[in-house]
Point group: none
Chain length 259, copies 2
């Protein structure tokens, strides 16, 4: 078995999302969307206030209706987590319980580690106003708190599901390397760059900008450092050389405008 | 000065959030809440479709009304970012532009690093359906893409602001070392940079380099991306403008050398 075989597809499977006594259908739909945005598909509800299925939830789930439609409904939390081996409870504040308290990213890493070992895992979210009860939290293996602004820490249900789902996705991502965003363009080789530097410097000697000989070496160094920082492609070097030719040959100061 | 004195309070200041041509007031209010959840307070709007102030925005901002009420409104994006020195553009997909492409966490780290060095920084978000235009993105220093489920990657405006604000908060959890790599020189603010872009583009229209009108927008975007990557200081902007004037006014093609 190669290493690749042991890597689960990041966009399938993953923790179950369990909404405990959710109230508004809209929030259930928003949770379905937020989950699906980051590849989670297994939604469970305990005792939804307005019953199930719920039209408002399906309407809000736009694009993630399949996730909402497939939601499983349970009478209570013990039933909803019966087949799972590890669940984390999302709370606004830490609870005074003898359980590990994780940040969202640490919780996601722990869920990912166990999921990769074949465990079935889940994330609990409480009702809109009241959150999870102490009895709910007591059933969980760990607590997750989202470290928000102490002056305004209220996140709605959809937002809390979004952040935890996002962290789940992040925990499975390969280390992210900043890319240059230059697509297929090749970076200029140094010979092209020096050609540009010399072309510009000769033009600036002619125009008088580099006319004072004593100041020239420092100014040339500064220009080269500035252009060097841009990490130009070979095409961009050609463009800049075209600009120098164009300005030098056909430039017209604005005062004497006219072709 | 103790080390503590140099650490900015994680719950004050931070990047400006700039919503470009936002449509629904509700989404502006949701953005204000999401920002404030993670301690961001500086909201800017360009050309909000339904005018400003907006009752729906204030209603939705519940608890973060102060952030919404203090929003500054601008006619266009260059005006909205004029006093900033570094901005990232949030896009659903990478654009084929010569700019760095960051994950949200890498973008937040880069914003944090610059903010800690005293730079004024910002995050751009596009309109609900259309997102940021290529011209908007061309004014940014880097692109941020949120790596969502390829089968369902649509995040609404409030969610995108939430995730970036969350990453901003997260980036402050660990101590950051300010480094500029440019010595003491201050980075140019966007107003200076746009002044340079416009100066160069006008000169190139006069010289004929940008003479073909249909090709102009793409060429202008490429030039702006290239110069943007160099992270010019204000002194360097002045130097480049001096070079443009010098080449345009006193440039002599090599064939007609002399004088």
């Amino acid at each position: 078995m190669t290493e690749t075989d042991t890597q689960p597809d990041p966009w399938t499977g993953g923790p179950a999302v369990i909404l405990v006594r959710p109230q508004m259908g809209e929030n259930i739909g928003a949770a379905a969307r937020a989950m699906f945005n980051f590849g989670l598909t297994e939604l469970r509800l305990t005792a939804p206030r307005d019953g199930w299925p719920n039209e408002a939830a399906l309407a809000m789930a736009a694009g993630a209706e399949d996730v909402a439609r497939a939601a499983e409904v349970f009478d209570d939390l013990p039933g909803a987590i019966a087949d799972l081996s590890y669940v984390v409870a999302t709370t606004a504040r830490g609870r005074d319980m003898a359980k590990p308290v994780f940040s969202p990213s640490d919780a996601a890493r722990e869920l990912r580690r166990r999921h990769a070992s074949g465990e079935k895992v889940g994330m609990l979210f409480g009702a809109e106003r009241s959150g999870l009860s102490n009895d709910d939290v007591a059933l969980a293996d760990a607590v997750v708190t989202i470290p928000a602004n102490p002056a305004y820490s209220s996140l709605n249900l959809g937002q809390a599901v979004l952040l935890l789902s996002y962290e789940w996705m992040r925990s499975g991502a390969a280390p992210e390397l900043p890319q240059t965003g230059r697509g297929e363009a090749a970076p200029a080789i140094k010979a092209e760059l020096v050609g540009l530097f010399e072309h510009l410097e000769e033009a600036l000697v002619r125009s008088g900008f580099l006319g004072i000989k004593e100041k020239r070496p420092a100014m040339v160094r500064n220009l080269r450092a500035m252009l060097g920082r841009a990490e130009l492609t070979d095409q961009e070097v050609r463009t800049l050389r075209g600009i120098i030719v164009s300005l030098e040959r056909y430039g017209k100061p604005p005062e004497t405008e006219g072709k």
